[in-house]
Amino acid sequence: MSNFLQSVRGALILGVAVGVIGVLALLFAEPFYQRIVFIFMVNLIAVIGLQVFMGNADITNYGHISFMGIAAYAVAILATPAAIKKTSLATAPFGLGTIEVALPIAILIALALTVLIAFLVGTMLVRQSGTPASIATLALLVIVHVVIMNWVDLTRGPRAIYGIPVKATLGMATICAILAIVAARLFRDSSWGLQLRAASENIAAASAMGVRIKRLRLVAWVVSAAICGVAGILFALFVGTISPKSFYFDLTFLTLAMLVVGGAYSVSGAVLGSIVVTFGFEIMRYLENGPQIVGLKLPTMFGLTGIFLGAIIVLCMILRPRGLVGDDEIDEIWRRRSKNRERSEISANASGAAQ
């Protein structure tokens, strides 16, 4: 039980940090910056979803954004007012072009659909480890993208779906982000999370101890997809229009960079990485557009954000392959440090007394 409380306390430290960012933005920020903070919260939720699978099962996952896309499209198709659908999605199959579902129900259906698809994909995916599994997740990303691009009747193909009810607020996104942090931390510290992490260190030893690796990977995969689904739904309900390119390689790279920079093996890493990379990314985006700095007109350089992302991934892999935070959560590191300090103080006192 004390372990449970420790996990919750550790998660709340991160949750408070994220909450402070959200509240400060709500109180003081201009709409432009509120929008950046909202997108930060959405990305953070996706990164945490990614961490649940990648950090515990130790399989690099390129497919998480496809679940964001599935959930976003599902909620968009269900909840867009019928009047708008008459012009945008008139030919949608299963009568989806004419019905309009109440938002809470649409959200539930979208999440359920995401979980169902994740489960079906997961049963195939968890049979693989390492590199082949990663490439399978990459294939998932491509498949979902190709389907969205080509199922024109249902998704409008490459064109955007518009008129999605804009109901998500920064407050909601902040609360969802905090809940995602708590859920991810509880999963990591649960016996399932522990068994999975043990299996990722030594698969033979763990399965000899009776760890049911495939089943646990599947659980992590589905939880991860559900959290990413929440991110997708928030995105759709905030921006109001979505198109396939919002859920492809760009966002995959961005969220992966966030996770690996912070450290995939802890929820703290996911949060820290999201903050650091968002900060750097926004600065680069500002520079990219050729701003005027102290009277000096900089040239526009589209591609700067991409170079930044690539460079920080490469540098991080070379200098700190396990990320800024490393293998343990921040509160665990603090606790260990203070314990060591106490111990060294005691031994210093003891040696002082002996003299």
Binding site: D58, T60, V121, M124, L125, R127, Q128, S129, G130, T131, P132, A133, S134, I135, A136, L138, A139, L140, V142, I143, V146, V147, M149, N150, N202, I203, A204, F253, L256, V260, M301, F302, G303, L304, T305, G306, I307, L309, G310, A311, I312, I313, V314, M317, I318, P321
Partner: protein, 300 residues
């Protein structure tokens, strides 16, 4: 008539398969010696392509200078990337290597974007590459014939290299056990550089044909072919050289067959079916067509 069409499509399948085989071989040879999944493989082609573009800008138009120059730059790009980015992560986990490669790929694409812009830049290759051969009543593009022949020649050359040279022996040995190879007095560095040089050379060859088809370079041109090459490599068994060849041709044939056989209204989904192949292979034959099944507990 029907058989003419079939013959044309067969050549089409062989040339597409050849391109995938060349790329998948490059991926496999690097993977086999250092367990690195090189996502930046396609971006070396982009570098080679832009090099050709620059050379043509400077007024050199002779294809017998431009094309070899492109291949040479592709090889140099492969070696440079190995030195700068992959050497520091040598010996780290496969995940680290794969993410590093992804980072390198993004950097190259965006450097090309900054200096070259996002619009495609025309790179005229040779006229005779764009012409067609008539065999009886059948018209077959020269590119396709050459690509098939060059691929087969490259495969034969590679087999000879792996079999009859010391470097080849060292690379085959390194695929099994790197520490032992080093104990035998072979420099790991040399083996790895050779692997990258070969993979760059194969990518350069594939790059010429990709360029001949597209007629232009753009920052993201290398990305899509390499995604397909991944499918080919997984199909054949990741890290297996014969597997890469078989997987490449199998994918080429499957793709052209889908293109021909799928009704037009679902032809757009072709790539979804192609990538679904990965899922099917992983479920029913995880080691691929020719790969060896890793021992349980082995990290792959």
């Amino acid at each position: 008539m029907m058989s003419d069409y079939a013959l044309q499509q067969a050549f089409n399948a062989l040339s597409v398969g050849g391109e995938y085989a060349l790329l998948a071989l490059g991926l496999a040879i690097v993977f086999s010696v250092m367990h690195l999944v090189n996502f930046a493989h396609g971006d070396m082609i982009t570098v080679g392509g832009y090099a050709m573009f620059l050379l043509i800008m400077f007024g050199v138009r002779d294809p017998f200078l431009v094309l070899p120059f492109g291949v040479l730059v592709t090889v140099l790009a492969a070696l440079l990337i190995e030195r700068v980015a992959f050497k520091p992560v040598r010996g780290a986990s496969p995940t680290t290597g794969m993410l590093t490669a992804f980072g390198v790929s993004i950097i190259i694409q965006n450097v090309a974007l900054i200096f070259g812009g996002s619009r495609p830049k025309a790179v005229p290759t040779a006229d005779w590459l764009a012409s067609s051969l008539s065999i009886g009543s059948v018209q077959i593009p020269v590119v396709q014939v050459l690509e098939t022949i060059v691929t087969l020649a490259a495969i034969i050359g590679l087999v000879a290299l792996m079999r009859y040279t010391t470097v080849g022996l060292a690379m085959r040995a390194a695929a099994k056990d790197v520490p032992v190879v080093r104990l035998m007095g072979v420099k790991a560095d040399r083996v790895i550089l050779s692997a990258f040089a070969i993979s760059g050379f194969l990518a350069g060859l594939a790059g010429i044909f990709i360029l001949a088809r597209r007629g232009a370079v753009d920052p993201f041109m290398g990305f899509a072919p390499v995604l397909k090459a991944f499918v080919a490599a997984v199909l054949g068994g990741f890290g297996s050289l014969p597997g890469a060849v078989v997987g490449g041709f199998a994918l080429g044939i499957a793709e052209v067959a889908l293109q021909v056989l799928l009704p037009p209204e679902i032809a757009g989904f072709r790539d979804a079916f192609v990538f679904l192949l990965i899922g099917i292979v992983l479920v029913f034959r995880p080691q691929g067509i020719l790969g060896e099944r890793p021992d349980f507990g082995e990290k792959s």
